[in-house]
Amino acid sequence: MSALLDGFSVVAVIAGAFFYLAGTVGLLRFPDAYTRLHALTKADNLGLALVVAGLLPQMDGLLAAGKLVLVWLLVLLSSAVVSQLIARSARRREARP
């Protein structure tokens, strides 16, 4: 059982790291603010979700696991709002000149 859970953790965390890598490549390579945001938020949210999911079985106790989930939810919340704000200000800046 524990070997199975460990295996799940490894796979999930590696997958999460892959999404981070993809997101970062997108951030660096995509041409404008919108596509960069797209790459960043999609990949990071999914990446973080996978990392958190992978770490959940490794935590001792429900409280610690709950904290991890809370971290993920908070990051989701703030990154959603912040990318909205960035996109909006990018659009305003485009409209101005």
Binding site: L70, L74, L77, S78, V81, Q84, L85
Partner: protein
């Protein structure tokens, strides 16, 4: 493995530091500094300083970064003007030579540090039971070196007095910072309604955990101050007038209560800032609870800057 990770962190840190110092413009430099601050928190984790890591992430990286970012937005083309009065090539070369010399001298000093390693840890451990708290860092901050912590709160208050004193005369007593006008149905206002309740709970948790685990009033105060700033920036509430009596009472409450507890120690335990036996933990809690609002207010108001609008009616 662990050394490899540390080496990678070190290389990244050094690269970021150099990049920040030589970056083309101030915005890039500050952006680099924010990332640098976060990476620094990682360094503290590796150096077994979880408390320091939390403080660094919250204050060193977070608040300082936000402060610098705010300043970048107000440079108004002064960068190009100062660029012409930069150090001459000779001065830059001299700076580089001397900076390398200082680094080399320090490295030599570090490499020949004496053995056995001097440390106060063996003195701290047996003294901890007298303080009633479990986190040795809290013990140092609020028992053995309580004076430093009292002075630290005083430093923040003096810094705030200084920042306020930069106000233009006409704005004296008014509200600090700009008045943020934001769409009440917008996404920022939404965040400012959803996040603060969670943030307040987390802040109080970090505060309470600080007695026995990593965490404490500074980290908690930063989180709470950030929540307050978020509400302000979303336009949901305005900064208070700096002449507001209640605001000032909140600012001075922490240090005054701290001093009062110190005087109580003088009377009940024979020495200023001493805790009567058995009462150490409750008194430390009293001090921390009194300092928390002070720190929240002062940190947030330092971010807001001097009063700038709505002077005396």
């Amino acid at each position: 493995m662990s050394t490899v990770v540390s080496a990678a962190v070190v290389l990244l840190l050094l690269w970021l530091a150099v990049w920040t110092v030589v970056a083309r413009d101030a915005f890039l430099a500050v952006a680099g500094f924010v990332v640098y601050g976060l990476l620094l928190a990682l360094v503290w984790v590796r150096l077994a300083g979880i408390d320091v890591a939390l403080t660094e992430a919250a204050i060193g990286g977070g608040l300082t970064g936000a402060l610098l970012l705010g300043a970048v937005g107000r440079l108004r083309g002064t960068e190009a003007a100062t660029a012409t009065e930069g150090a001459s090539a000779g001065a830059r070369a001299g700076a580089a030579v001397l900076a390398v010399a200082v680094t080399a001298a320090l490295m030599l000093g570090v490499l020949v540090l004496p053995e056995p390693v001097p440390t106060l840890a063996p003195l701290v451990v047996p003294a901890m039971p007298a303080t009633g708290v479990g986190n040795p860092i809290t013990g140092v901050l609020l028992a053995f070196r309580a004076l430093d912590t009292l002075l630290e709160a005083t430093v923040l208050v003096i810094a705030l007095i200084g920042v306020w004193s930069f106000a233009p005369d006409r704005a004296w007593g008014g509200r600090p910072g700009p008045r943020y006008q934001t769409d009440p149905d917008g996404v920022l206002a939404w965040l400012a309604r959803v996040l603060p309740p969670i943030g307040v709970v987390i802040g109080i948790y970090v505060f309470w955990a600080g007695a026995d685990h990593p965490g404490g009033k500074f980290q908690a105060a930063t989180i709470l101050a950030a929540m307050w700033m978020l509400v302000q920036m979303a336009g949901l509430s305005d900064a208070p007038r700096t002449s507001h009596r209640g605001l000032r009472a909140g600012i001075v409450a922490g240090p005054l209560v701290f001093i009062a507890v110190g005087v109580l120690g003088l009377w009940a335990a024979g020495s200023f800032l001493a805790y009567p036996p058995g009462l150490a933990k409750p008194l430390i809690v009293v001090i921390e609870v009194a300092l928390l609002p002070t720190l929240v207010l002062v940190l947030a108001l330092l971010m807001n800057g001097p009063p700038r609008r709505g002077g005396p009616a």
